[in-house]
């Protein structure tokens, strides 16, 4: 998992969304512009139904936007989705696993999907499983796993092909403190190695502690964006917690 494998620092932003819109029964995302720099950990926050997951699903190629453009490391993700997907990993809040496969078989399958080089993929799988304390369970089927174990395995699956852009939707939901810590450490480690991480979370302390920049999305539009200090300044709540800033900016302050 050397930094070199993830890729040399890119001048291109990791992600650039321009004028993205998506409508279901009602508009979910409206004319959204968003830029995430390469090598940063970006937290996308917002109330329930604000459009966070829809935005990330469009980036991951799971939804087609109604209009706008998506660029991933300079690749037009709408024109060449396969090339974009090669450098992206998507981790939803509900782990995408197969109950009847073992962790090693699952990682073998995912690395096959991304056509990873076999020997290094195996080494990475072992390293990830050991790091996430799943090595002892590597030959057990996932059906008996706890929620935390499943989430950790899904994270290992997202990392097995060395993505340059890691998109995580509520990665810490339902995890106990120890597992959540492991996941946070792993994400920060990946960022240090040069990867870009975009995550949504309702646990604002996590965003406060790990995110370099924070975007607040509300009713499908990017409402505010910046470092924690910049958001504090914008909300006029210097020295306050992200929770206070978030509530102030989303109009839910007491």
């Amino acid at each position: 998992m050397a930094a070199a494998e993830i890729g040399a620092p890119s001048r291109e932003p990791a992600l650039r969304l321009q004028g993205i819109s998506k409508r279901f029964d009602k508009p979910a995302v409206i004319d959204l512009d968003l830029t995430v720099r390469a090598g940063e950990l970006y937290a996308l926050l917002g109330p329930n139904g604000a459009g966070k997951t829809t935005t990330l699903r469009m980036v991951a190629g799971l939804l087609q936007p109604d209009c706008g453009s998506i660029s991933v490391f300079g690749i037009d993700a709408l024109a060449d989705p396969i090339a974009a997907k090669r450098v992206i990993a998507w981790l939803p809040d509900e782990p995408m696993l197969y109950d009847k496969l073992t962790p090693l078989e699952y990682l073998e399958f995912v690395s096959g999907l991304w056509s990873s080089e076999p020997v290094s993929a195996h080494a990475r799988a072992e390293k990830l499983l050991r790091w996430l304390e799943l090595w002892a369970s590597r030959d057990q089927r996932c059906e008996g796993f706890s929620r935390g174990m499943k989430q950790k395995l899904a994270l290992a699956g997202a990392l097995i092909h060395e993505p340059k852009l890691l998109i995580l939707d509520e990665p810490l939901t339902g995890l106990d403190a120890a597992v959540a810590r492991q996941v946070k450490d792993l994400l920060q480690e990946r960022v240090k190695e040069g990867a870009t991480v975009i995550m949504t979370t309702h646990i604002l302390e996590v965003a406060e502690r790990v995110a370099e920049r924070i975007g607040i999305i509300r009713a499908g539009r990017l409402h505010a964006e910046g470092t924690l200090e910049e958001l504090r300044a914008r909300s006029g709540l210097a020295g306050s917690s992200l929770e206070d800033v978030f509530l102030e900016l989303t109009g839910h302050a007491a």
Binding site: W90, Y98, E105, D139
Partner: protein, 505 residues
């Protein structure tokens, strides 16, 4: 549900019925409409004419009638038992709301009673929809006692439910939770197929109709099937004699109640053991060279095959369809050696049809029952690539199964083997393609109810499978209409391809 005390048997039953009704109505409105239309048609064109014809006719109980009714009841019981054993085995492992119910202060036997009732009555609907249109009109036209047949069907399903529960939990006690999950399903499939295999044995062993008929007449005249004998009790109950009916129905209810009471505490214990069994440990990892090899296609195919092999419920369903293939292959090979041309052609047609149905089942599993569709969508592979891989995974086991018999066939009759092989190949690929065109995403455990997903798709699989079957039959006979059958098949495929958007909608 305010009129019954919370936590009582009736309260729990009302809860189950509510869930079941809401589930069926929401999931399968078209299916219900078709069933209703079928019942009305059967009533109008079979039940009512039967009622008018038998209006002034009294049925005299003979040895033949007793034997006939007894045989029908054995057949029904076997079919019901196959279903209830499968459901009872699954009930032990499916969590759903079982944890909630068993952790509540409601006695375990009451939970089992309601769950057992659901298990026993679940397969009833199809039999009732066949029986009621034939029994209700005669009952209204002078034979009210015949309504007892419906009561006997319900009693039979209760008995099958009780035996299913006893078998499942007996297996659990004897061979343990892990093996029960697999063996219970396979046993259920075998019981379900047993009648078919017995039926096919007539063709397999060339038993003449006359021999069978004289055996039936001989049995019917034996003292064992006289109207006053013990074996006549079920037949008399079906025809509405009060004492035999009360005896049979009472026996079934008693069997069910005793099973539930005896097994209640055990069910709770077994279910908790089933929930807590550690995940099975697989073979240790091989060397890195063996694992993590191959690209996306190989990974997808391997994943699908692993998931299929490791799912006992699915495996048993597929196994059941394979069992249906075996007698056909046997008959085909035997007839080729005896040069029975007509039977060879029919056998080839049947083989092609069942192969297409098996291919459709496997294709549904690999294509529609994907557990992690988002993972595949997010992967750097095109949709068509994933579909090709899944289709390959679906057809591989079928071809592996049929390659040897077709090669043996080729040894004796190359032309027929070519027709059979080509028919199997084309019909299977067609069934797979239809599954792609009319994909109806579902979960693996819904395999039995997959038909409710895409009505047009299922109709297409049946029609195209039949068309390929007729074409293969024609090819073997070198019939003048074989090209016409091929053309119709092609047109059908084209029509269903064009209509795929409508099917999805």
């Amino acid at each position: 549900m305010n009129f019954v005390p919370a936590g009582s048997f009736l309260w729990l039953l009302a809860h189950e019925i509510r869930l079941s009704v809401r589930g069926s109505f929401r999931a399968n409105r078209i299916g219900i409409a078709i069933t209703a239309a079928f019942i009305l048609t059967l009533t109008a064109f079979a039940g009512v004419p039967l009622a008018i014809g038998l209006r002034h006719v009294g049925l005299r109980l003979t040895g033949g009638l007793v034997l006939g009714i007894d045989l029908v009841m054995v057949v029904l019981f076997t079919l019901l038992l196959s279903q209830t054993l499968s459901s009872a085995t699954l009930a032990l492992y499916e969590r759903g709301d079982l944890d909630l119910l068993l952790s509540s202060p409601i006695p375990a036997y009451r939970v089992l009673a309601v769950r057992g009732l659901a298990i026993a009555t679940q397969p009833l609907s199809i039999f009732l929809s066949l029986l009621c249109p034939l029994v209700v009109p005669p009952a209204l036209f002078g034979h009210p006692a015949w309504l007892a047949a419906i009561g006997m069907l319900v009693a039979l399903s209760l008995a099958a439910g009780a035996v299913g529960l006893l078998l499942a939990m007996g297996l659990f006690a004897i061979i343990g939770p892990r093996r029960t999950r697999t063996l219970g399903q396979l046993l259920a499939a075998l019981i379900g197929a047993a009648l078919f295999l017995v039926g096919q044995s007539r063709y397999m062993f060339s038993l003449k109709t006359q021999v069978l008929l004289s055996a039936f007449i001989g049995l019917a005249h034996s003292p064992a099937f006289r109207p006053e004998s013990a074996l006549a009790v079920p037949a008399r109950a079906v025809l509405g004699e009060p004492v035999p009916f009360l005896f049979c129905a009472g026996f079934a209810v008693l069997l069910f109640v005793i099973s539930v009471h005896v097994l209640g505490a055990r069910f709770s214990k077994d279910a908790s053991i089933a929930a807590g069994i550690p995940a099975e440990r697989r073979r240790k990892a091989d060397t890195p060279a063996r694992r993590f090899h191959g690209g996306a296609m190989q990974s997808l195919v391997r994943k699908e095959l692993l998931l299929l092999v490791r799912d006992p419920a699915l495996l048993s369903q597929v196994f059941l369809r394979v069992l249906y293939l075996l007698p056909l292959v046997f008959i085909l090979l035997r007839n080729v050696r005896t040069h029975a041309e007509g039977q060879i052609a029919t056998g080839t047609g049947a083989l092609v049809f069942i192969a297409s149905q098996l291919a459709a089942s496997l294709a549904w599993i690999t294509i529609s029952a994907e557990d992690a569709p988002d993972l595949l969508t997010a992967a750097p592979i095109t949709k068509s690539f994933a579909q090709r891989a899944k289709l390959t995974a679906a057809l591989l086991p079928l071809f592996a199964l049929l390659i040897l018999p077709i090669l043996i066939l080729a040894w004796f009759a190359p032309a027929i083997a070519l027709a059979a092989g080509t028919g199997v190949l084309l019909a299977s690929v067609a069934a797979g393609l239809i599954n792609l065109w009319y994909e109806s995403p579902g979960q693996r455990r819904q395999f039995r109810r997959r038909g409710s997903g895409s009505l047009v798709g299922n109709m297409a699989v049946l029609l195209v499978g039949s068309a390929w079957s007729v074409t293969a039959t024609g090819a073997v006979l070198a019939a003048w209409w074989a090209p016409a059958a091929l053309l119709v098949t092609g047109l059908l495929m084209l029509g269903f391809y064009r209509g795929r958007t409508m099917g999805r909608a």
